[in-house]
Every structure is written in C-alpha cells, then in structure tokens.
C-alpha cells in the first residue's frame, strides 16, 4: 500500500528542494513542453542532459526514480513498439506483417525518451517539493484567475486538504485491511470478482471514517474562525533568491539551445 511513489515528497536537503516552488512548477511546464518540441537528437540530448542534471541535483536516491518509472514501463514499451512498426519509408527489416524503417526507429526512440523525461521531470518536482509548498505555489500562480471570479483560494485549500489526507487515508486503509485480515479476509487470492468483493469490508469503513474526518475538520476550522481567503496573510512569504535566478537562467539557456538546434540542425523526421 505504501509503494505509491508517484507524487510523493522525499525530504532531504538539496538545491532543488530549496528552490522557489513557483519557479519549479513553471519550469516543469516549460520543460514538458520542451520535451515534445525536440525534433533532432541534439535537442533531445539537451533535454536529457537537463533531466540527468535535475535528477542528480535533487539528491533523491535513484531507486525512487526507478520506482516511479516502473509504473509506466508498459506504456513506454507498447507505444515504442507501435511506433517502431508504423514508420514510413524504406523498410530495413521485414518479417510477416512487421516492417522496421529508420523513421520507425527514430520515432520509437523519441517517444520512449520523451515519456521517460516527462515522468522524471514530474518526479523531480514532486520528490523535491512538499505538497503544501506545491499548492501554495499553485495558489500564487493562479491568482490572476480571481478576476474571472474563480475561487483560487478555495480550490487551493481543497487541494491542500486532499493532499494532507492522502497519507492519513493510506494509513487508515492499511489499518482497516489489517483488521479485516485478522478476521480472515482474503484479499490476495481468488478471481477478479471475489477480489472486488473482498474490498467491501475495507471500503465501507474507509468511507465512514472519511466522512467523520471531514466533519471533524470542518468543525475544527470553524472553531478557528476560518472564512476563506479574504484578508488572510501568509506565514511563509515566497521570495525569489539568487539560486532561483541562476536556475532560471540555466533553464532559459536550455530552452534557447533546443530552439536553436531545431532551427539549425536537420530534423530527423
């Protein structure tokens, strides 16, 4: 149950952990876009270098990244294979209905590397940024939307609460599962239908306790006179530091590098 690493904060002390979360979110979006704007191996190389640099700088054990990659390995393999066999052009290898072309190989490599980069970039963000910092930054970034009467603070608060309760609910699920297993519940074997049925003794208590928690939280918030975002000040003020400007400069350089490679070098497809 605890092995869900996608979107899990890994606390340790690194430059990336200390960067401004707003900058990290913006950079993530930029890099993801950039990953899909690579048209030749030089630009792909720049993106890969950025990923490797980020992974190394985060000082999060490589094992953690492998774990989050494991989740999507099937998608990577399937899409790569599909691309490999559906390339246009002169076949260099043919067998039955499969034919492999240079375009197909390029496509497969690009798709594979892009997905892996995508996951690694997002993992760097979630490993190095605590959920609270994330929502805080999101709230700040979405602030302009208030002019469209979107309740940014409320949305951010809901996200904070949801994220805050993920580990709690996981723990609760563990506990309830243990309690039902102690009464002989069998959740590991049997057909699909019997396994789904075996979840009922876990899900019912989980729902009941979620509602109880929600109610208790609402009462606790009202007791402290919470009334939403108007006039609230912050305990942690975000301010861009020297390291933020440096990383911004590096990111801009990488973006420029990719754009230049795309313009001046031949596209492989």
């Amino acid at each position: 149950m605890r092995d869900v690493t996608l979107g899990q904060y890994f606390p340790c002390d690194s430059v990336l952990h200390r960067l401004d979360p707003r900058l990290k979110i913006v950079s993530l979006i930029a890099f993801i876009a950039l990953t899909f704007c690579t048209f030749n191996y030089a630009s792909l190389g720049i993106v890969c270098a950025m990923v490797i640099a980020a992974v190394l700088l985060s000082r999060v054990p490589f094992k953690m990244y492998l774990k989050s990659l494991k989740v999507i390995i099937i998608i990577v393999v399937i899409t790569s294979l599909l691309n490999l066999f559906y390339g246009q052009g002169e076949p260099i290898f043919e067998w039955w209905i499969f034919k492999v072309t240079w375009a197909g190989i390029h496509n497969a490599v690009f798709v594979c590397v892009r997905i892996v980069c995508l996951i690694l970039f997002s993992s760097v963000l979630t490993f190095t940024t605590s959920p609270n910092d994330l929502t805080d930054a999101l709230e700040r970034l979405m602030k302009p939307l208030t002019i469209f009467h979107i309740k940014v603070h409320e949305i951010a608060m809901m996200m904070t609460i949801a994220l805050r309760f993920v580990p709690t609910l996981l723990e609760e699920t563990d506990k309830i599962m243990a309690a039902q297993k102690a009464r002989g519940a069998d959740m590991e074997s049997g057909s699909l239908i019997s396994r789904v049925k075996a979840l009922i003794p876990v899900l019912v208590p989980l729902f009941v306790s979620s509602f109880r928690r929600a109610y208790e939280l609402a009462v606790a918030m009202e007791c402290r006179c919470y009334q939403g975002g108007k006039g609230r000040t912050r305990m942690k003020q975000l301010k861009l530091m020297k390291r933020d400007y440096i990383s911004m400069a590096v990111s801009l350089l990488a973006i420029a590098g990719v754009v230049l490679c795309n313009i001046f070098l031949l596209s492989v497809r």
């Binding site: 243990a178 309690a179 297993k181 102690a182 009464r183 002989g184 009922i200 019912v204 208590p205 306790s209």
Partner: protein, 287 residues
C-alpha cells in the same frame, strides 16, 4: 512446550530507507496455555508491532514465532489459519465494522473460516453473549449502535472465531470508566470460562494489575521485564525510568510502608489494599 514462543523476534520498518526504524528488537519469550498476559510500555515502544507479528499480519524481519512448536511462517500460504487461531482485536476496533447488521458483522470471521450456517449462528450467539450484546441489537445496523456497543460488537467479531489466543490492543481506550470496568470484566470472564490464553495491551496499569497473571514491559523496542504482575509492579523506580508507573493503589500502599506501616509489598488491587489495611487496623485494635 509452550503455546506461543518467540525467539530473536525483530521487526524493522522501511529497512534500507532513511526512515528506517527498529520497532521490535530481538525478543525472546514463552507464553503458556491459559495465561492472561499484559503488555505495557509507553507509546512507540513496539507493542502494536509485536502483537501484529504474533498473528502473522506482519512478517518478522528476523527471528521466529512458534505456535504449538510450529513456526507460523513455515507455510506462508496458510497464514490465514494462524490468524484464526490467534485472534487480534485492534485499537478502536469499531472502525472496522462494515456489514448491514451486527450479526452479519460478527459472522464475518467465522464465514471466512468456512463454517456452515448453523455453526456460524452458534458462534455469533455465543460471542454476543460474552460481550453482553442484547439479541435485538444483533439485527440493527452497526452504525446505529452507541460507541461502547460498537466496541463490544467488534470484539465479538474476533471472539466468534474462537481463537486459541485472544489478543486485545487497548480494548478500553476511549471508553468511560464504567464501560472500561464492564468490558474488562467481560474479557476476564471469557478467559476464565473458555480457559483461553489472552494477551492484553494496555496503557492502564490498573487494568493490567487487576486481570493479568504475567506482565511484559516493552521499552524502546526491547523486552525489559516479563514477570508476574506483582514482581513487575514492585520495581517502581525502573518502571518510572521508562515513563511507566505502578497502579495508584500500589504506590499508595508503598508510601504507607515507607511511612512505617507493616503492610505487605506488591498490593495491586484496591480490594486487596482494603483487606491489608483492615487486617492491620484489627491487629492494632483500632477497628
């Protein structure tokens, strides 16, 4: 041969991670058939981890647990059979109720054991009787019960499996004083009538002193003492060094002894203290 014996029992949480944490550290002990054993220790001393290993919910990182001389992990596929023989009631067990009626919820364990309808019905009836749940409550939804009734229904759900060993993790937590006393005496009567082994994890020294034959003291993942309740609670200074205390009545009698009254040491219950003191007063001719 002991009913339950542990050798070198160890459990380490998230081994190899920065958050690695030894919860149970090389425990050796034997528990005999028909004993009532108490486990005390402050929060985080490893009590809950220990009891979850005893019924095979957690697999020891190292060491063995033998039930009737057989290692419970010798056939990992049949670990469910161990869970039926070593019944574990978790902390706040009322949060695990899920069925439409109380009776069905109590029947969950026996049903998983594969018993037939008649046997299940008998088990539910007997278990409900032990915890004093009225017949009409059995047909209600468990969510309509009061807190104390829910707690008792959940305990009945484990008793209904008729385990050789019943383990209760803080069964009285969050109950009012009367509810505590009633529940504790029900557990004690169950132990006396069935002659089953019961293990009680508790923060209340009074509860442990009243019902337990032997007491295990856990401190920082280690087993510090495992002795008769009287012997354990006569080591007041060692216990307080571990953040534990002796029952209030024991410390009152101890103070009286220090003040020069010739009472016997190791008094664990109020009744016993009353007896001692009246005897003394009679001897002095003041009563």
């Amino acid at each position: 041969m002991s009913l339950l014996s542990a050798r070198g029992l160890t459990y380490i949480y998230s081994q190899g991670m920065p958050t690695q944490h030894v919860a149970v550290d090389h425990l050796d002990f034997d528990i005999e058939q028909g004993e009532f054993v108490g486990i005390i220790g402050h929060t985080g001393s490893g009590k809950s981890t220990l009891v979850q290993m005893l019924n095979g919910l957690l697999k020891p990182t190292a060491g063995t647990i033998e039930l009737d001389g057989v290692n419970i992990w010798s056939k990992p596929k049949e670990i469910r059979a161990i869970r039926f023989r070593v019944g574990l009631v978790f902390q706040y067990p009322e949060y695990q109720l899920f069925e439409e009626t109380v009776a069905k919820d109590i029947a969950f364990g026996p049903t998983n054991m594969g018993l037939d309808a008649q046997q299940i019905e008998n088990r539910v009836y007997d278990a409900a009787k032990f915890v004093d749940l009225k017949q009409e409550l059995l047909e209600k939804s468990p969510f309509d019960l009061s807190g104390g009734e829910k707690r008792r229904a959940a305990i009945a759900g484990v008793i209904a499996m008729d385990p050789d060993i019943l383990i209760l993790d803080e069964p009285c937590a969050g109950l009012d004083p009367v509810g505590r006393d009633i529940l504790l005496s029900q557990i004690y009567n169950y132990h006396k009538e069935r002659g089953n082994t019961v293990i009680l994890v508790s923060h209340s020294m009074e509860d442990v002193a009243t019902v337990c034959d032997r007491v295990m003291v856990m401190n920082h993942a280690k087993l510090e003492m495992f002795d008769s309740a009287q012997n354990v609670f006569s080591r007041r200074d060692e216990l307080s060094a571990m953040g534990l205390r002796v029952p209030q009545i024991t410390s009152i009698v101890d103070s009286l002894i220090e003040a020069g009254f010739p009472l016997s040491k190791g008094v664990l219950t109020v009744d016993r203290a009353v007896m001692e003191i009246t005897e003394f007063l009679k001897k002095e001719g003041r009563l």
